[in-house]
């Protein structure tokens, strides 16, 4: 068992590294927003209001790269927007936020916010709760139904955003692969011309997020802060038609596979090879298992997520064939479980450069021409059969292994 755990740890570290790498992508030249927070509550005592506000500020501060709350000690906030803006500027904030909480038994929370940088009301929504606000637990309130929307509204922005002039249209020239479709700037998609250029006018200063897709290229999303005319070259990487895998299947039995795909289409075909010559198995007399068995699998699959996703999910299915080269024998198709059908569901995630990690569940249905021997192969207590774990028998001729997994790295060529 110690060996098993020792073997699991590197794989998990690899797995977790990929997960975390995919998340930590904050640009270093951006600054968090500063937001003046005002809390108003009806039916609460002064102390309860203080507890409510402290819990809100604590929850907001706990968000990495989230807006920095600037506390307003006053509970009486001006009624006019102009006065509120001035109050926010005096407090050193670039936006303000009013949180109104009404009632304790079925509280209603109304949130209104204004962005001084872009001179627009950014938030005005209400949420209702069915649970009573527990006064002793107010300090533990997480505000999960409010905070995420605020964080999404106020992402970090370039420092230059704080020294803007009056909004005015400016010319933006995008250089990209001819035929690239640009979305996110206008209400309709735009196309890059045959000369590889697209010229449009956009209000400036303002933040924008565009998405560029072109056949044969990996889609890309780009966030910009527009502050005057700009020529924007897009870096577009060609889609790969081949991905090579090195993987462990079922207790670290090694294997390789090649994934073929048509660029820009979400479909792929895969040829897998796994050898059971060496591996770790908990259901054997010896934990280090060696079997003269190999497995070939062909998978047709589809990606559910775009190619540029940090985590790309996919599904697939296909036939699998087991072959054996026993000592003293010839290469044969395995006689116990010769073939079957496999379903895969997995995700791949960025590790570094063109290297990705992946994790798949691969439950497989096997056909057996020898059901009695298949049942017997799990041993006997001379009177009652042993468990066929991890197989589930489907009489009379099939069995499914629901716990098959593949974990490995994928090299995108």
């Amino acid at each position: 068992m110690k060996r098993l755990v020792a073997g699991l740890i590197p794989a998990l570290l690899l797995f977790m590294h990929g997960m975390l790498s995919a998340q930590n992508q904050t640009a270093p030249d951006k600054a968090p927003r500063r937001i003046l927070v005002v809390m108003e509550a009806g039916g609460f005592s002064q102390n309860e209001l203080i507890m409510l506000k402290q819990s809100f500020l604590t929850a907001l501060r706990s968000i990495p790269d989230g807006p920095v709350p600037v506390d307003s000690s006053s509970t009486s906030f001006p009624g006019f927007v102009r006065d509120r803006n001035e109050a926010a500027r005096r407090a050193g904030a670039d936006s303000w936020l009013i949180v109104k909480v009404s009632g304790k038994d079925s509280p209603s929370i109304n949130v209104v916010s204004f962005d001084l940088l872009y001179n627009i009301k950014t938030l005005d929504f209400s949420v209702s709760r069915h649970e009573r606000l527990s006064i002793p637990d107010l300090y533990r309130e997480r505000w999960d139904d409010v905070i995420p929307k605020i964080v999404k509204t106020y992402p970090p922005i370039p420092s230059i955003a704080y020294s803007r002039g009056p909004p005015a249209p400016v010319k933006v020239t995008i250089r990209a692969v001819p035929g690239t479709v640009i979305t996110g700037l206008y209400s309709v998609p735009l196309s890059v011309g045959s000369d590889g250029m697209l010229t449009i006018e956009l209000p400036s200063p303002a933040p924008y997020s565009l998405r560029a897709t072109a056949f044969g290229y990996i889609p890309t999303t780009k966030d910009i802060y527009l502050d005057g005319p700009i020529e924007l070259p897009l870096v577009q990487d060609r889609s790969s038609w081949l991905r090579l895998d090195a993987a462990f299947q079922n207790g670290f039995f090694p294997g390789v596979s090649a994934n073929f795909s048509i660029p820009s289409l979400p479909y792929f075909g895969r040829l897998e090879f796994t050898t059971f010559r060496v591996g770790i198995a908990v259901n054997q007399d010896q934990i280090l298992a060696s079997l003269p068995l190999s497995q070939f699998t062909f998978i047709l699959g589809v990606y559910l997520s775009p190619e540029d996703s940090a985590m790309r999910w996919y599904l697939g299915l296909g036939p699998t064939l087991r072959v054996s080269l026993p000592s003293g024998g010839s290469l044969v198709v395995d006689r116990l479980l010769p073939f079957g059908g496999r379903v895969i569901g997995g995700t791949e995630f960025l590790l570094a450069g063109r290297l990705r990690g992946f994790f798949e569940l691969t439950p497989t249905l096997y056909y057996t021409p020898l059901p009695a021997l298949f049942a017997a192969s799990f041993g006997s207590n001379n009177g009652s059969n042993n468990s066929s774990f991890p197989y589930i028998a489907i009489p009379p001729l099939f069995a499914v292994d629901v716990l098959e997994v593949r974990v490995g790295v994928r090299w995108v060529l």
């Binding site: 003293g328 024998g329 116990l336 298949f374 017997a376 799990f378 041993g379």
Partner: protein, 360 residues
Amino acid sequence: MKRFLLGALVLLALAVLTLGSCAPAFLEDLNRAAGLTDRMTLVGTVGAISLGSDSSAQFYPTKPTASSIGDVDIPSGIVFSSNSGSASINFAYNTSNGAQTVFGVGGPLPPLPDPNYPAIEIYPLTPSSGVATTLAVSPAGGAYFALSVTLPSGPFAIGSQSQLFLVNPFPPPNGVFPSGYSVVGAQMEPGPGGESFNFLLFAGSTYYIGTANGSSSGLSQTGTVTSYIPGLPGPPYPQQALYGVTPSGAAYASYFNGSSWVCYLMTSSTTTQLTGITNRIDAVLTSGDFLSTQDGTLRVYDSTGTQVLSRSLTGLQYCYETYVGSIPYVFFVLPMSMQHGNWAFNVYAIPTSQIRNLGG
């Protein structure tokens, strides 16, 4: 939410990797023998049965009663397992619910003789109405003895050399045999209507041959000595020989002469050595061919002693030749070693007329 998802994924990966660390279901023995068994008919699987830490096992299936090979389903047999020089004998059969049962029916047997000799020769007869008699003849410690068991649970009896034909229900010879005889060779001769037990005796300085008739319910008739054979070696006579008779009446003896295996064609007046046969003969087939499985190699010789087939048995063991309906079949068994000291046995049959085709 993303952190929760990542945490859940990590836990899922840990759980599935741990639970999924299982070797696949796989039987190497089955694949090793596929080149031969693909040309045979699978007529039964017995097991898995636990034989502890025994290092080897031989399985002798009960003989079939069906009249066509497609109807044969062998559910039971006798298992000889050896460990550290001693052997145990068990009767194993599949129950109706798919489980397996094993009865210890004797032993441990004495240490087996020289491994160059056929360690065990067993002649299971056909079960009838759930009760049958199995006769096993084995050289052990330089002597033959017979085993008789009423299936499926016994009782089991072991007879000594001098009691060979006294084992119930085999009746005593009533003075037919000369006094002081020793059985030096035997083989069951299959026939469409029943089986005969042919034996070779040595008494004084003379070899005698005889036969006893059998039926589907077992050996039931008195043995007879039909003639004596001159020309075979004198004392010390071979103690572990195979003696077989073909349907045409030709009689053969195969034994180890101290330096090599020899085979003789015997008549009432002469013996002729078949010099082409230098390996142990395990059966004289109804086709007139000789079958040898010495050292795990399947060899077939024609009636003149010329080798016509030689290839590895890849783990298969020869069981017996018997008739299914009107067609003689040669039966083999494939013992399959599994984890945790378990064994299972596949029984295969091939028409005797096709035995030579196994080479190509």
